[in-house]
């Protein structure tokens, strides 16, 4: 194969994969701490895309500036969903662990409600943000880099680094990690576990809020957009290791490059089958993922 085309493909794959990883961060964080597989992950992204869109369309806010709206709004929504909808389940469980299937079903309910409320409220029309300025395309050798995707991918790496650093060194971050590792011991150390859970869910959604704003400039928005990203996120997170923050970015880039390179040889549909197959294989052979601990 033409090496130029191949390097194009790899660069595209890395950029896109970085965005996949960034979008999946929240899913991984929430699973890592709460052991909840958030089926509604994509729906939250869809909502933040809509928020970014309406900010642009009604208030004339640049999508990149709308992060100041989407991030707090999504944090609030995530906090609310955890403390009002999911936490009764955690309180109910006698064994004091969330029964993963109930949580999955609960978030599946959230997914149905959010996606269809969006359909009722915004209608089925596809919408898109249009900005009237041009960002210059930086060049990587002979390859031009798409500026908007580059911003997304860089943001993903930065957010992952920042999140890891914050979890490692901040007071709240340590509390979150402690709660993830041993809920009871955390409570016995004076950590307010329900609060930590709600904050974690909020942060997971806030990250989605950020990426909603970052991809809004180039992503058409419709009520069903969440599903596409949701499925991608599951694949990415399983590949990188459920709960692993760096694994998320690595998993995203692996999928991105895999699909980009594979698509040059086979059709995109076969590449989609391939990534689903990879997903199954990883679950069966190495369920902890690429970066996850055994």
């Amino acid at each position: 194969m033409d090496p130029l085309i191949l390097s194009f493909a790899v660069v595209n794959g890395v950029l896109l994969g970085g965005i996949y990883g960034g979008v999946a961060l929240g899913l991984s964080l929430i699973f890592g701490v709460l052991r909840v597989v958030n089926f509604a992950h994509g729906s939250f992204l869809m909502l933040s895309l809509y928020i970014a869109f309406w900010c642009w369309s009604l208030l004339g806010l640049d999508p990149y500036l709308s992060v100041f709206v989407t991030v707090p709004a999504m944090f609030g929504l995530g906090y609310f969903v955890q403390s009002v909808i999911i936490s009764p389940l955690i309180r109910r469980e006698r064994a004091l662990v969330v029964e993963p299937l109930s949580a999955l079903l609960l978030t599946a309910g959230v997914f149905l409600v959010l996606d269809n409320l969006a359909l009722m409220a915004f209608g089925p029309n596809v919408r898109a943000v249009q900005v009237d300025y041009y960002l210059p395309s930086p060049m990587l050798g002979p390859i031009p880099l798409n500026p908007q995707r580059l911003i997304g991918a860089l943001a993903a790496v930065l957010v992952a680094l920042g999140l890891s650093w914050w979890l490692r060194h901040s007071h709240m971050g340590r509390a979150i990690r402690a709660t993830a590792q041993n809920r009871d011991a955390a409570a016995l150390s004076g950590i307010n576990v329900p609060f930590v859970y709600a904050v974690t869910f909020g942060i997971g959604c806030a990250v989605l809020g950020l990426f909603g704003s970052l991809i809004a400039p180039f992503m058409p928005i419709s009520p069903s957009i969440g599903v596409a990203f949701g499925i991608k996120s599951f694949i990415v997170v399983v590949l990188g290791g459920l709960g692993s923050i760096p694994g998320c970015i690595v998993g995203g880039m692996v999928i991105g490059v895999f699909e980009a390179v594979a698509s040059q040889h086979i059709t995109a549909t076969s590449a989609a089958i391939g990534s689903l197959g990879l997903f199954i294989l990883i679950l069966l052979v190495r369920p902890q993922g690429i970066m996850g601990r055994a």
Binding site: Q181, N182, D184, A185, A187, L188, S189, G190, N192
Partner: protein, 238 residues
């Protein structure tokens, strides 16, 4: 008369419809070491979980220094000053020793004095200072127990509860641990200790309670219980 450090009155608790505690009365005077002994399944750990707020009592009251704490969530109980080092150590295995200890000082009160308390814990368990950057999972059983006790101390407890601190430790380590506990005592804490290592703990404790089937069947000073033939017969089967 000042109120005791911890007082349980007619405490009932259980899991679902399984009743574990059936009316426990217990008093821990300020500055004392009180031992709670009993066979497996007698409800010792359930008692600690209930006091800590992990389990809601179905009846009865829990007072810490005269204040009711039986409706508080776990983190408020810690704030109020009751801290336990749970059974089986329950360390945060993905964290270093230092991080484990720092997480222990989570409440605002404890955080304000974090550096000093840390110094004190390191003084108490010098080995932890040496290995502060090691992951908790790489420690020996005795060292892990030290981390667990140290982590509880970091929260600046008024009442420290130790659940089976000698579990799984080599005899020499048990001795050392008990020595440390004796030293902690000098910090003007009240200590509630749950042990299966009956004789050693009875020697150290000011008084002790025997828990059987969720009820206190016997109590008294450590010495008196040691001499009590009934205890030996019923509890030890000798």
């Amino acid at each position: 008369m000042s109120s005791p450090a911890l007082r349980l009155t007619n405490l009932h608790a259980g899991y679902g419809d399984v009743r574990v505690l059936r009316g426990v009365d217990l008093e821990l005077p300020v500055g004392a070491i009180v031992a709670l002994i009993g066979s497996n399944g007698a409800g010792k750990t359930t008692l600690l979980r209930t006091v800590s707020g992990l389990l809601r009592p179905t009846a009865g009251t829990i007072e810490l220094g005269g204040e009711r704490i039986d409706t508080l969530p776990p983190h408020r109980v810690v704030e109020a000053g009751f801290v336990q080092s749970p059974e089986g150590k329950q360390l945060f295995t993905g964290m270093t020793i230092l991080e484990n200890l720092i997480v222990g000082a989570h409440t605002p009160r404890a955080r304000a004095r974090r550096a000093e308390t840390l110094e004190e814990v390191f003084e108490l368990f010098p080995i932890l200072a040496e290995r502060r950057q090691s992951p908790a999972s790489a420690l020996s059983g005795g060292q892990q127990q030290m981390v667990a006790v140290g982590r509880a101390l970091m929260a600046l407890p008024r009442v420290l509860a130790l659940d089976e601190p000698s579990l799984g430790l080599a005899p020499i380590m048990v001795d050392r641990l008990f020595e440390s506990i004796a030293r902690i005592r000098q910090r003007n804490l009240s200590i509630l200790i749950i042990e299966q290592n009956v004789f050693q703990v009875l020697e150290m404790a000011d008084s002790a309670y025997v828990l059987e089937n969720g009820q206190i069947s016997m109590s008294g000073t450590g010495e008196a219980l040691l001499k009590n033939d009934h205890l030996r017969e019923t509890y030890l089967g000798l």
